[in-house]
Amino acid sequence: MRFWKTLVAAGLLAASGSVHAQEYPSGPVRIIVPFEAGDAIDGTARLLADVMANEFGSPVIVQNIPGGGGAAGTAEALRSPADGQTLLMASTGALTARPILSTSGYQTSDFKPIANLVDQPIGLAVAASSPYQTLGELVEAAKAGTLSYSTPAPGSTQHVSMADFASKNGLTLNHVGGQGGRGAITKALTGEVDFAFVGASNYIGLADGGQLRVLAVATPERLPFLSDAPTFKEAGFDFNASVWFGLVVPQQTPEGPTEALRATVEKVAQSDKATELYEKLNFEPNYMAADAFQTRIDESVEQNRRILTELGLVK
């Protein structure tokens, strides 16, 4: 049973203090997930770990180090030996916004990319009882008065990008964090906030059940699992936003293991098994090789710095 294998592997990992790598991997590989078990990013890592373990022929362990908006686990990845045996499952907010917001123990540039894995498109939804039928109506209301909205957490990509949208379109919005995507949706359902802005896949059940209305998704095309929801573009706003999850390693990791990891991840992340599993969990598989991923990271940093400066949240 895999459970026991994982336990044994965890033991091995603890025992094998330093590893002198000739061939890669030279023992169990560990993927640090800087969030709680059960989050979307955790699902991504666990699925990939399974496929990677088969490819490597050695165990791949997912370790959750939650807290501090992803800062604790990210900092821990940087403290681990840079030998390629420890990878970080980076998310937009933890890798590119947190170091701007507060002391975090790391900089975005302390890591180098392996590959981007999946994207989670973001959508805007209101409760069924909400007076707003279209995005246009909601935007008009937020120009005339103040509306409130919820995202998973302050400083999250969802928060930063909606704040950007608001400042570009002259909206007045109050933000509250929902302690995760589902918590943010709860705040919209109870009528506490006017709308939620979280990962679109979170809406499926409630939208089908008629308790939520998804007014718009921030993607170039409509989403297959929410085909009734128009895009921001259709409503006349040029606005895209998504959360990405990808693998990175500390900058000091030697070339050998880094290249080996890039080659392996390129293969497994695009395998049929991984794609199928990701689609089952309503993630959008979006493999990006290291260079493209680095460009994306740089863009996120730049965007976050600009918006957080406008919001007065830079440390």
Binding site: A37, D50, G67, S102, P154, N174, G177, R182
Partner: protein, 495 residues
């Protein structure tokens, strides 16, 4: 309830794999629940990806078995060595360990087993018959209501700091201050971290529990030295007699069950708050609860409420797709693996699967009874281990437990510091329970108070203009008033 659907769902009972996984789940739950630092939440997170190849019933058998027994099993170390295995069992340790010190560990364990199962069964009834109604009630709770509800929870301080209300209040304030450390949940800024980024995570509840309950106890034992108090020989309890004892306290069971169910229904809460509030309520009715001798009622109230959360937390999950506690949050993934999107349509379109869940929950609670009562005889043998061997063992377990929460060695250092600080404060007469309660409730009150004011544009009147909030505030004032009046009439000399 549709009987033909029920009959069809009951066919899963004929499947050996369902029974097998239920037993495996229950056994794993016992381990994850009892080991400090590991919780039912962690167990389910690890087990969920393993259910890929499973059919629905087997997957739920494993996960629900783990869920229910995991919530119960934290009471075992809470009673035996004053170290709650999970935050939801912290209130159990107060009276449970006091009973063990009087040689009644077996009685306390019986009470925990039977109480947990009863709480579980009560919550299944609610899930089966009132799920849609109750979920719409839960949706009337916004930050405003959560904030005042948290304040109501703080009235328990009076009940759990018998002897000295002042030191109890000080302890709660200390707990709330500890709860401020880390990233501010509303603004996203760092607080009280003194530039140390390991503190960004904040002080997690589990390491704090280990520090304030187990480590302080270890220090106390070490101070007592050679002449430290060995526990007396343990008496056996007869389960049937304990059943009778529980049934005579039917009002307490119903009340604690209702508290656990009510809190389980509310998204974002969980067993920790439920057990403390039920315990506080029991203490108001019975002066023996929380006393040095310990009381059966205290153990019973905490454990009934703790496990009454299980079925109730599934109500918002299965009717709205919104988790009631941390375990149900992970269960969403388990449903997705089965290709099921939980939401408002789940019960209507998957009625038979809903029945299967009810049946499996009932079986899981039966399993707690069977396994719990079956193994409890051997558990107090742990207490025969001489203190000079047991205490170092506990320290090792504590360190491992603290490490395993976040896989950070910093947490091991932290339990040592907090544990020593707690020991000094305890010597100065400060009870530890209010500190933990402050750490649990402080962040809830703070976050919701600030969120409520943010969305209502700093208008404080919402706390009295919203009916549920006003009602909770009135109850809070009433409780404070009654407590004050009682303590005055008690301290007045009887003439």
């Amino acid at each position: 309830m549709d009987l033909s659907q029920f009959a069809q769902a009951a066919l899963i009972l004929a499947s050996p794999s369902v029974w097998l996984w239920l037993i495996v789940g229950t056994a794993l739950g016992m381990v994850f629940g009892a080991a400090p630092g590991l919780t039912a939440t962690a167990g389910i997170a690890i087990a969920t990806p393993l259910t890929f190849g499973f059919d629905f019933a087997s997957s739920m058998a494993l996960l629900l078995g783990l869920y229910c027994s995991g919530y119960f099993a934290g009471s075992i170390p809470a009673i035996l060595i004053n170290m709650p295995g999970a935050p939801g069992n912290a209130a159990t340790s107060l009276d449970g360990h006091a009973l063990a010190r009087r040689g009644k560990a077996d009685l306390a364990l019986c009470l925990a087993v039977i109480g947990s199962a009863m709480g579980g069964f009560l919550s299944i009834l609610v899930l089966a018959f009132a799920a849609p109604t109750l979920s719409s009630f839960a949706l009337r709770f916004t930050s405003v209501e959560y904030a005042v509800f948290g304040m109501f929870g703080l009235t328990c301080i009076a009940a759990i700091s018998r002897g000295s209300l002042v030191s109890g209040l000080l302890g709660a304030v200390l707990g709330m201050v500890l709860g401020l450390v880390g990233i501010d949940p509303v603004g996203g800024m760092e607080r009280l971290t003194f530039g140390n980024f390991s503190l960004l995570t904040g002080i997690a509840l589990l390491p704090a529990l280990i520090a304030f309950f187990a480590i302080t106890e270890v220090f106390a034992q070490a101070m007592a030295g050679q002449h430290g108090q060995e526990l007396p020989r343990q008496e056996q309890a007869a389960p049937l007699a304990v059943f009778g004892l529980v049934l005579r306290r039917w009002w307490l069971v119903l009340k604690s069950g209702a508290i656990g169910i009510g809190i389980g229904l509310l998204p974002g809460t969980g067993p920790t708050i439920a057990s403390w509030i039920a315990y506080g309520e029991a203490a108001r009715g019975d002066p023996k609860v929380g006393s040095k001798d310990g009381s059966e009622s205290g153990v019973l109230a905490s454990e009934v409420a703790n496990n009454a959360v299980t079925g109730a937390a599934l109500v918002p999950l299965l009717t709205l797709g919104i988790p009631g506690d941390t375990v149900t949050a992970i269960l969403i993934g388990a449903f997705l693996i089965q290709g099921i999107e939980v939401g408002p349509l789940f019960i209507a379109t998957h009625g038979q699967l809903f029945m299967q869940i009810l049946i499996l929950l009932a079986l899981a609670n039966l399993a707690i009874l069977v396994v719990g009562l079956g193994t409890r005889r051997w558990l107090p043998l742990l207490l025969r281990i001489p203190q000079r061997i047991l205490v170092p063992l506990i320290v090792v377990f504590c360190a491992a437990g603290a490490f395993s929460v976040n896989n950070m060695s910093f947490d091991v250092l932290m339990i040592l510091v907090l544990g020593f600080g707690g020991f000094v404060l305890m010597r100065l007469g400060m009870p530890m329970a209010p500190v933990v309660l402050g750490l649990v409730l402080g962040p809830i009150v703070e976050r919701n108070l600030r969120d409520a004011l943010t969305v209502h544009q700093m208008d404080w009147s919402v706390f009295v203009t919203r009916p549920i909030s006003l009602a909770i505030l009135c109850i809070t004032l009433l409780v404070i008033g009654v407590t004050y009046w009682r303590s005055r009439s008690r301290s007045r000399p009887a003439t």
